[in-house]
């Protein structure tokens, strides 16, 4: 036997802390830590609500136990893994191109053409080598 007040309160507090972490951090990896806390808050709420779940009634004789809350939580954990892989790849790319991962810094004017044009050239021509050299030469 258990009351569900504490899980709901934990979920609300984690969501608040996660939102604070997303908004108050400048390092991009630390912003991602706030996102993970927000996802965990949703997970706690899903697992807490899954304790109240009843089997889904198909007809008068058959019913299916779906365990939607717990299965959704496992799916969200998988989604979070996929999300953080792509996000950290983008953060590392940002560090390699700009040289820092401060998400509040203003973009430097001189960096823009050097990074944008070879990407556009690679997307259109499919050969990133020669256009990039042409850009950086003069």
């Amino acid at each position: 036997m258990m009351h569900l007040t504490a899980p709901v309160l934990l979920s609300a507090v984690l969501a608040g802390i996660g939102a604070y972490g997303v908004l108050a951090r400048r390092n991009a990896v630390l912003v991602l830590i706030g996102v993970e806390l927000l996802l965990s808050s949703a997970n706690v709420l899903l697992v807490a609500m899954s304790t109240q779940e009843r089997p889904y009634v198909l007809s008068e004789t058959t019913s299916v136990a779906m365990y939607g809350g717990q299965v959704m939580t496992i799916f969200i954990i998988t989604l979070a893994a996929a999300e953080i892989v792509v996000a950290l790849a983008i953060v590392l790319a940002m560090f390699r191109v700009i040289g820092h991962i401060d998400v509040t810094a203003a973009p430097e004017g001189e960096v823009e053409p050097a990074t944008d044009e070879p990407v556009a050239a690679a997307a259109s021509a499919g050969d990133p080598g020669s256009p990039a050299q042409g850009v950086s030469g003069p």
Binding site: M1, M2, H3, L4, T5, P7, V8, L10, A12, V13, L14, G16, I17, G18, Y20, G21, V22, L23, A24, R25, R26, N27, V29, L30, I33, E36, L37, S40, S41, V44, L45, V47, T51, Q52, V64, A65, M66, Y67, Q70, V71, T73, I74, I77, T78, A81, A82, L88, V91, A93, F95, G99, V111, A114, P118, V119, A122, P128, A132, Q133, V135
Partner: protein, 176 residues
């Protein structure tokens, strides 16, 4: 108050405290380590709530894999070791962030608490068998779709790093 309530509150207080430290600490690597503590105690919360499979998946994937990725990213971006004051935004922005966070917490609590305050619920002894049967029965197509998603995320991360390597070499190499 039942025994499960007391154990859950212990885990919940630990999780909330560690989460607060993870978003306020001034050392970058400590934030990742406090996140480990937060996710581990949340796994404990799942065990208390009777979701053993979810707790184990949380320990394996979050504490095992995601944290390793985060720490790797911190090391590869040359995270400073020691205290740094410029990790957080300026004071007024942090105040606004605190207000937004507090109001979000209050909103969720105000919306969801009236739904659940009725009575104590039964926690079944073990739900592993039912959850496994549900994943590979009712939820099998979303499950397969997730494996495709993981594969495309892997390829996407690879492509992002390749495109940037091709693009960043002429510009990035000169400036350093």
């Amino acid at each position: 108050m039942t025994t499960r309530d007391i154990v859950f509150i212990c885990f919940a207080v630990l999780a909330a405290g560690c989460a607060l430290l993870a978003v306020t600490t001034k050392q970058v690597v400590h934030a990742a380590l406090w996140l480990v503590a937060t996710l581990g105690t949340i796994a404990g919360c799942y065990f208390v709530l009777g979701a053993e499979l979810v707790g184990l998946v949380q320990l394996l994937i979050y504490v095992g894999a995601v944290i390793i990725l985060v720490i790797f990213a911190l090391m590869l971006t040359r995270a400073p070791i020691g205290k740094h004051d410029d990790l957080a935004t300026p004071g007024w922005q942090r105040a606004v962030a605190a207000v937004v966070g507090a109001s979000l917490a209050a909103l969720i609590a105000a919306v969801v608490l009236p739904v659940v305050t009725d009575a104590a619920v039964d926690i079944p002894a073990s739900t592993n068998k039912g959850v496994s049967a549900a994943i590979f029965g009712v939820w099998v197509w979303p499950f397969e779709l997730l494996s495709v998603l993981l594969l495309s995320a892997l390829i996407g991360a690879f492509i992002v790093s390749q495109v940037v390597r091709a693009a960043g070499r002429p510009g990035g190499g000169e400036r350093r």
